[in-house]
């Protein structure tokens, strides 16, 4: 408990210091609860998510960093490894492959990498996974881009 607070506080200080260093990630801690964080990440370029801003919600367990944080997309996203309704993310480092050397910041980077490199063989969104698995790259990209426009980009006048 005390250890997780101390570590999150270190991460908080690091985030303040690094804010300019990584323009693709904006990590903010909840005002009243250091175990709740929100992140805004930029959709990676040359992907259907390019130009979108995606919001992530972090729930950090008291055993952190021995246990991984729970992360989900708050912004709707069409991606084989993200549950379309709940925003749950299927990513090994958030489960079995978690290591205490990961930080909230590096988890954000891993999620950006997952957006650029979907794993259609372990899908949480079967429609999206099936499109990729059947080789319909264009179909997947159009769907993903459409949802990114609808949910992750500012509405045009």
């Amino acid at each position: 408990m005390q250890a997780s607070r101390a570590r999150l506080f270190k991460e908080y200080k690091e985030v303040q210091r690094e804010k300019v260093a990584d323009p693709d990630i904006q990590l903010v801690c909840d005002d009243s609860n250091i175990f709740k964080w929100t992140a805004l990440i930029k959709g990676p370029s040359e992907t259907p998510y390019e130009g979108g801003i995606f919001q992530l919600a972090f729930a950090v367990p008291e055993q952190y960093p021995l246990q991984p944080p729970q992360v989900r997309f708050l912004t709707k996203i069409f991606h084989p490894n993200v549950h379309f309704k709940t925003g749950e993310i299927c990513l090994d480092i958030l489960k079995n492959a978690w290591s205490p050397a990961w930080t909230l910041q590096s988890v954000c980077r891993a999620i950006i990498a997952l957006m650029a490199h979907p794993e259609p063989d372990s899908p949480l969104n079967c429609d999206s996974g099936n499109l990729l698995r059947s080789g319909d790259i264009r179909g997947y990209q159009s769907m993903a881009r459409m949802y990114a426009r609808l949910a992750a980009m500012p509405k045009k006048g």
């Binding site: 101390a6 570590r7 270190k10 960093p65 021995l66 205490p100 050397a101």
Partner: protein
């Protein structure tokens, strides 16, 4: 008892190279044995326990949190010449648990060498040829010492081997040594024992040989030796009163002339 070294290691690590697990300055520097990544001792031990908790049969290795290399032990307590090893998931099961006596012996290896030299007079031991008198406590002392150093229970083969080397080196060529200065004998015996022990004890060999010499020179049984040793170090001896240690010292002073008288008779087996 390691307060000082803890503090110095914590301050030397600083914020520039924090522990990857707690992100704070490293407390009790610990390294994984294959990749040599550095962590706080408690952080990395805690992590191995979390990993072990996921398996019904905990693996005897742990993946480095930084590089995923499989590691078998955590190296910690490095003091410039010696270190301790924590075997992954070897301490939850059947494995050997050090007794208080083992721990006290291990702690002795972290004290300044020579702290006890004036109580157990080594040079008199060699000059008076006291080593020709068999020491019937030596085997038990060796077993405990090696168990403590290796943190393993079954050390019979090593004890047998080292005991053999000690016995033969102490008694052989006694005629030849009789004319020489006792220091030659002392050096030769220590070199032989050192060679025999080195494959097992590594960096701790030199200190082990010194401790062995002191134990032999003391002429005491193990309880009395422990009491005298701990009294000198200012440690509370488990279950031995200060009177017992006084007795022990008296015993020593009476033993020496006895051995001296019989010195000329004992020409050794050859």
């Amino acid at each position: 008892m390691n307060e000082e070294s803890n503090n110095s290691s914590a301050s030397s690590s600083g914020d520039s190279n924090p522990c990857p697990i707690c992100l704070g300055p490293i407390v009790q520097d610990s390294y994984l044995d294959k990749c040599f990544h550095k962590f706080c001792y408690s952080c990395i031990v805690q992590w191995t326990k979390v990993v072990a908790g996921r398996h019904s049969h905990p693996p005897s290795s742990v993946k480095c949190p930084l590089c995923k290399t499989e590691n078998l032990t955590i190296i910690h307590g490095y003091d410039g010449s010696s270190f301790q090893q924590h075997h992954i998931n070897q301490d939850f099961g059947y494995s050997f648990i050090l007794t208080r006596a083992h721990k006290y012996r291990l702690q002795c290896y972290y004290t300044e060498p020579g702290i006890i030299n004036d109580i157990f007079n080594a040079s008199r031991f060699w000059k008076s040829h006291k080593y020709l008198q068999p020491n019937r406590w030596l085997q038990s002392w060796l077993r405990r010492e090696i168990q403590a150093l290796l943190q393993e229970e079954d050390v019979d083969i090593i004890v047998h081997h080292i005991l053999g080397v000690i016995d033969s080196s102490l008694t052989r060529n006694e005629q030849k040594y009789h004319q020489k200065v006792p220091e030659t004998k002392q050096e030769d015996v220590k070199a032989l024992v050192s060679n025999a022990a080195n494959p097992f004890l590594g960096a701790r060999t030199d200190r082990f040989v010194k401790e062995l010499e002191l134990f032999l020179a003391s002429g005491l049984n193990i309880e009395a030796y422990d009491a005298a040793y701990m009294q000198r170090l200012g440690w509370i001896s488990p279950g031995v009163s200060s009177e017992a240690s006084k007795e022990a010292l008296n015993e020593r002073t009476t033993v020496i002339p006895y051995l001296y008288i019989f010195d000329d008779d004992s020409d050794g087996p050859d």
